[in-house]
Amino acid sequence: MVVSEKHLRIAARREQIAMAVDFVAHQAQLAGLDDDGIHQCSLAVDEACSNIVEHGYKAGTEQAIELTCREEDAAFSILIADHAPAYNPLNQPEPDPATPLDQRVDGGWGVSFMRRLMDDVAYQHHNGRNILVLTKYLDATRKRIGVKQQDRHLFLVAPMGDLDERFSQRLALALGGEIAAGHKYLIMDLSGVDLVTSGGLKMLVSVWQRAREQKGDIVLAGLNTAVQEVMNLTGFDLVFSIYPTVAEAANLHKFR
C-alpha cells in the first residue's frame, strides 16, 4: 500500500542537487527513517543526480531530473528519472576499496556508494527515460504506529514513543490516511507514550478535527500521569474524551 508519493523536478544542474537532497531527506524523515537512514538516502540521491548531471545530458542542453519519493508499508523508494541517452549505471564495475592510491581511477564511486547505502538499487529504461530506483526497507522499529481494527467500525492506534514533532508528523500522515479511508472512529492508546510535546498536541487536535469533519471521533486512553497532567494544564481534557483503558473507551464511549 502506498502511504505517500511526492514528486520534485529539478534542472539537471549541479546547483540544484542540494534541493533534491533536501527533498529526499525530508521525505525519508517523514517515512520514519532514523538519522543514519536519512543521511544514506541523501548521499545516494546526491550521487545519482551528480552522475546524471556529469554524464547523462550533453553539455549545453537544459534538461530535467524527476524525483519521486514513495513511502509504502515496508519500503521507502526514491525514483530518479532522466531523459538522457539510455544508460544503465549499474553496469559500471565497482572500484575496489583496496586499490592502492596511485592506481585509483577517479570517479565511479557513485554507483558503489548507492549499492552500499541502500537496500536495493534497480534500473529500468521506460518511455525514453532512465529510471533509477533506490530502496530502503523499513523495519519493525518504524512500525511504531500500530493501527488495528477493534471491531466493525472502531480502530485502535497505539503509537510507541514520545509524541515529538517528528513522530507526530508521521502519525498525522498515518491517521489522516485512516480517516480518509473511512476509519473515522479511533481510540488512541497512549499507554506507550511517555511524553507529549506541543507538536504532539497540535497533531492530536488536527486529526481529531479531521475525524469530526467526517462525523467521526477520536478518544484517548491509557494516559500516564505526566501526559494526563499536560492534558489538564492545556485544557485538552475538556476537548478530548479520555479513558483509563482501551476496554473502557471501547465499551463506554458513544462513538455515534
Partner: protein, 111 residues
Amino acid sequence: MLEIAISDEAGVALVRASGRIDSSNANELGSALTTAIDAGKINLVLDLSAVDYMSSAGLRELVAALKRVKCDGGDLRLAQPSKRVLDVLTLAGLNTIFVIYPSQAEALSSY
C-alpha cells in the same frame, strides 16, 4: 554553503572547511588545496570538523590533492572529521588511505 580558510602553521598549510561539500562546490575545496600546493606547500592538514556533509565529489578533490603532494614527498592529513564525513570516507575505503587525527593540533604536530 561552503567556507574555506587557508593559513600557514609553521610551514604546514592548514585548510579549514565548514559547511556542506557536494558536487556544486567541491571544486572550491579543490582550488583551495591546489592554491596551497602551488605555493610550495607539500604538508597539508585539512580540518573537517565543521563539515556536516560531504559527497563523493569532495572525496575526489581530496584524493587528487593527496596524489599531488605524495608525488612531492608530502602528505595531506585529515583532522577531526565529523561522524558523517568519517562514514563517507569509510564507505569509499579512504579511511585507511588518509591519516586521520582527532584534533587539528595533533594533525599539525604530526609533521
